[in-house]
């Protein structure tokens, strides 16, 4: 199977399972909602019955925002104009690439969110591997079965990503970058050096991400219990199919870029209250859906590529298995 075909197949598989997309969207909503409600309470309490509410409701009351953020602790400190529109995306992307620290509450929420993803990852990949409905029971059973395996894999991922962000990133951006740009007084040169370092870091990150993705795919498709075994087999697959795996990864990254570009064009600004507020929120949620869709396409297309390359065509043709048979069991015909 070619990377392009795998990408197409991945898109088809995601489209064929809209409930998964809806489910992860709901999960993302629920992950954010408690904190958003807490922030709403903080803002409401700070504004009280002040007339400062009027410009804050009708647009941006920058003075109030600064006052609020200065007096707030925890999540309140993150309420800044930089959350507006496409700026929010740049803010997060830049913080990610520049390894900017976030308040502990946000880190905690992110940790919980990652755990949720680890839980549903098995069910999602299982669904895409089978390429037909597994039902709610089947989905959560697979999620449950693979959760602890993925948790173990998660520890390896934590160690690897931890190394990347704790050692490689500071080395690249706090040591190499200053060294390379020490006598640079021409900004474009420094900019291109920085972009190059982002590429190097991105390559390292992408390579690890690729290996972990195929580790998850092999763990599910081949019903592997060992996280390290799945990682080793994932790495083997990537090594033997490097061109296809990397090309597919880049195609998926392309989808991510398209999602960002589309949102950049339509991202709502501050707006007012009433229907415009909800309209803006709906547009933003479409963007969130698009991001989630891209993430699912990564997994679905990688699953398709893996199945296509190892010629496990029987996965999709086999009779409906009885749980807890793994997708790999379906191939044993």
């Amino acid at each position: 199977m070619s990377p392009l075909a795998a990408c197409r197949d991945g898109i088809r598989r995601v489209a064929a399972a809209p409930l998964i997309l809806a489910g992860v969207w709901l999960m993302t909503m629920l992950a954010g909602l408690p904190l958003a409600l807490a922030l709403r309470g903080e803002i409401s309490s700070h504004l009280g019955t002040s007339l400062a509410s009027e410009p804050a409701a009708n647009g941006v009351n920058y003075e109030w925002m600064q006052e609020f953020a200065d007096q707030a602790t925890g999540i309140g400190t993150t309420l800044r104009p930089t959350i507006l529109g496409f700026g929010a995306v740049l803010d997060n992307l830049s913080a990610f690439l520049d390894n900017t620290s976030r308040p502990i509450v946000i880190v905690g929420a992110a940790g919980m969110y990652i755990l949720l993803w680890l839980f549903v990852a098995g069910g999602i990949i299982d669904r895409y591997a089978r390429d037909r409905a597994t039902g709610v029971h089947g989905f959560f059973s697979a999620s449950g079965v693979f959760f602890f395996r993925f948790l173990r894999l998660g520890l390896v991922m934590l160690a690897v990503y931890g190394l990347l962000f704790s050692y490689l990133h500071p080395w690249l951006f706090d040591r190499v970058y200053p060294r390379l740009t020490r006598e640079v007084n021409f900004e474009p040169t420094a900019f291109f050096i920085r972009v190059s370092l982002y590429l190097i870091f991105g390559l390292a990150l992408g390579a690890c991400n690729l290996a972990f993705d195929y580790a998850k795919v092999r763990a599910v498709v081949e019903d592997r219990r060992s996280a390290l075994g799945a990682l080793a087999s994932g790495l083997r697959f990537v090594r033997r199919n490097a061109g296809a795996a990397v090309t597919l990864y880049l195609l998926d990254v392309g989808l991510f870029v398209i999602a960002l570009a589309a949102y950049a064009a339509v991202a709502p600004g501050a707006g007012g209250i009433g229907w415009t507020m909800w309209f803006g929120f709906a547009i933003a949620q479409l963007y969130i859906l698009a991001r989630l869709w891209v993430k699912l396409v990564f997994w679905a297309s990688e699953t398709a590529l893996f199945q296509g390359r190892l010629a496990h065509a029987g996965y999709v043709a086999a009779a409906k298995p009885v749980w807890p048979d793994s997708p790999a069991a379906e191939a044993i015909t």
């Binding site: 993302t28 992950a31 954010g32 909602l33 904190l35 958003a36 922030l39 709403r40 803002i43 409401s44 504004l47 019955t49 007339l51 400062a52 509410s53 009027e54 804050a56 409701a57 647009g59 109030w64 600064q66 006052e67 200065d70 999540i75 993150t78 309420l79 104009p81 930089t82 959350i83 507006l84 740049l90 997060n92 830049s94 913080a95 990610f96 520049d98 976030r102 946000i106 929420a109 992110a110 969110y113 990652i114 991922m157 934590l158 990503y161 640079v184 007084n185 021409f186 900004e187 474009p188 900019f191 920085r194 991400n209 007012g272 209250i273 507020m277 963007y287 969130i288 989630l292 993430k295």
Partner: protein
């Protein structure tokens, strides 16, 4: 009669032409300053070794009424000689200190000092010693004292010859070199200012700038051939030397400092400022190649400063100005020197945000408050930085509005402009946010060099701009304009003190403003007025409305309290703001809908604006709706943030 008129007009034109011609040569006719500290300097730059070799002849006159038996010189660059200087020790307070490599450091070694005595040179080198008048730091070498063979009598003139060598630091505190870009400031042994109570010659502090007497500067800079040089004053002569260098002679009268820059990469652009009532100014811009497309933006911002400062405060007298666009990460940006200043922009610099316009207007504005009015930046930094921040904010918003918030991402390279966030003068350009975070950090009347390092700017720049703008909103622009223009007129080419400014403000306002200055200048108390309570309950046919206004902060200021009723009628109360609280009661047919303390937002120093008002009814419920809106906006940001992290799964 007709002949006389023509003759007068011709004379005026000729006088004007000769004035312009003189200005183009760096001359000021008649002399505008005492010219009691003039420098003739020869300096040679060796870019490879980053060293300068120089000698100077200072012609100094004692303009006090007392004799003096020593001379004191600033050797600013010695602040970066090692980590034990006062500058370095102060920098360590509240800031991250950059690790300095040995070759990044600066040195300034005076090899000889001679003074002419009755036509005979007397060598003072043996009497030289470093002193630390501010903190007694024995390791500080930024003030050099030389004992005179005999006291310099009042009115007497000394000729002092000094030779020195210096190592150019990697740019620090807006001077030094990076790559092939050199910005050389505070680089020569410079005399302190002799006052009636002795030398005013402070050590170099991390928080403050400089102070010196006016004079004539005649400087010959030798740099590699084909490297453009920009400097204080105007170039009078360029001479190519046989060793591949060129000597540029720069000359300027009635200035109190001299800075210069050179880099082979600089592009040179010129333009002219013209105005119906202000003298023309030739503008010279030394621009970095990556900013080639931004030349007009630099000129435009300089024009804005020359126009508005000229119209509001007084004319720029020199006839020429040099704008230096500093190199990337040179750290030389945003600094003022007589007839020359550094801007600061970026490769990606969207219009309608801050740079380069903000910094260019600010530094061009310093030509007025710093360059022409020579206050003491060591002790009263607010008198130049604060006044200038006020002027900058006013000029910027008059010339450029609207401007929008800009944020930079990805290593601070990629800008994004938030078109929803329009920047206003009162809060943003007066730098209110910084002040509010640390309103009590220092009392403004303390000597600026004793402000807490790293946060002193908030007292110097921000607080002054805010209280001046409050002054403007309180008593009106004509009073403030009269204050500043009178101050500019009376104190140009002199060294004013704070009381001189306050006296003029009292005079312009026609009243004693001491209570106001006691609050904003002689105290670090915080202003915070608010509406503590608003109730409007039906009692019979009427509504009884009760408003409690409160002074939460320690500082006092007269404010208005405005109550608005449902029929649109308003009651405005004038409160002297002295008591801790004040109650107002109304019995009216209509219910009150809002109560506001300081409704016109006169008091810009109020650190908590949200508590300044309360509303009843639907307007009072907007807070919840606004909270919903902003929490939804924030949730999108959070979801996007979580999705970024989900890459790890």
């Amino acid at each position: 009669m007709r002949y006389l008129r023509l003759s007068a007009a011709a004379s005026a034109i000729l006088a004007s032409c000769s004035l312009v011609s003189a200005q183009s040569m760096g001359q000021m006719t008649p002399p505008r300053s005492p010219r009691n500290a003039s420098y003739s300097i020869d300096v040679r730059l060796d870019p490879a070794s980053r060293t300068i070799t120089a000698s100077e002849v200072i012609t100094w006159r004692n303009i006090t009424t007392k004799p003096v038996d020593d001379l004191r010189f600033h050797l600013y660059w010695n602040a970066w000689r090692d980590d034990r200087s006062t500058w370095q020790r102060e920098r360590k307070l509240g800031r991250t200190v950059r690790v300095t490599r040995p070759d990044d450091r600066a040195t300034m070694d005076v090899s000889s000092v001679r003074v002419m005595n009755g036509g005979q040179p007397v060598d003072l080198t043996g009497s030289l010693r470093f002193i630390a008048p501010d903190d007694g730091n024995a390791d500080d070498r930024t003030v050099l004292q030389a004992a005179l063979p005999q006291p310099a009598a009042p009115g007497s003139t000394l000729t002092i010859e000094i030779a020195w060598t210096a190592h150019v630091p990697r740019t620090i505190a807006r001077t030094g070199a990076i790559g092939n870009f050199f910005f050389i400031a505070q680089w020569f042994p410079k005399l302190g200012v002799l006052q009636e109570d002795g030398w005013n010659c402070h050590q170099f502090h991390s928080n403050t700038e400089f102070f010196s007497d006016y004079g004539v500067y005649d400087v010959r800079v030798t740099a590699p051939k084909a490297w453009p040089v920009g400097a204080t004053g105007v170039v009078r002569d360029r001479r190519d030397n046989s060793d591949g260098t060129t000597t540029h002679r720069y000359y300027q009268e009635d200035v109190h400092d001299f800075a210069w820059t050179t880099s082979p990469d600089s592009l040179e652009r010129t333009a002219r400022f013209e105005h119906p009532t202000l003298p023309p100014v030739e503008m010279r811009l030394l621009l970095r190649p990556d900013h080639a497309s931004q030349a007009e933006r630099h000129f435009d911002a300089t024009r804005a400063a020359l126009k508005y400062y000229g119209e509001w405060f007084g004319a720029y007298p020199y006839g020429h100005i040099t704008i230096v666009d500093p190199a990337f990460q040179s750290g030389a940006g945003g600094m003022e020197y007589p007839t020359l200043f550094t801007g600061g922009t970026r490769w990606f610099a969207p219009e309608h945000s801050d740079d380069p316009e903000d910094v260019v207007i600010h530094e061009a504005g310093h030509q007025f408050f710093y360059g022409i009015v020579g206050s003491n930046e060591f002790e009263d930094a607010w008198m130049d930085e604060g006044l200038n921040t006020f002027g900058e904010a006013r000029a910027l918003m008059t010339w450029y509005s609207p401007m929008y918030l800009q944020q930079r991402y990805f290593g601070n390279f990629v800008p994004y402009v938030f078109k929803d966030v329009r920047l206003d003068r009162e809060i943003y350009w007066n730098r209110f946010a910084g002040y509010r975070r640390n309103p009590k950090i220092d009392q403004q009347s303390a000597p600026s060099y004793r402000y807490y390092p790293g946060l002193g700017t908030q007292t110097t720049y921000n607080k002054t701009a805010l209280w001046l703008n409050t002054f403007e909103r309180w008593l009106g622009w004509p009073v403030v304009q009269r204050t500043l223009s009178t101050y500019f007129e009376r104190w140009q080419f002199k060294h004013p003190k704070p009381d001189d400014f306050f006296a003029i403000a009292n005079e312009a306002a026609g009243r004693d403003l001491s209570p106001f200055f006691d609050q904003v200048y002689r105290s670090s108390n915080v202003f915070d007025y608010g509406i503590q309570e608003l109730r409007s309950d039906r009692e019979g046919d009427n509504y009884r409305t009760t408003v409690v206004a409160r002074r939460y902060g320690e500082a006092t200021f007269p404010i208005d309290i405005r109550v608005t009723f449902a029929d649109g009628q308003q009651a405005v109360e004038h409160w002297d703001g002295q008591d801790r609280w004040r109650q107002y009661t109304y019995d009216r047919a209509e219910r009150a809908v809002t109560a506001e303390a300081d409704p016109e937002h006169v008091l810009l120093l109020d650190v908590n604006a949200t508590n300044n008002s309360r509303a009843l009814g639907p307007r009072g419920e907007l807070g919840t709706k606004a909270a919903t809106k902003w929490s939804l906006k924030w949730m999108i940001w959070l979801q996007d943030c979580l999705l970024s992290w989900s890459m790890f799964v």
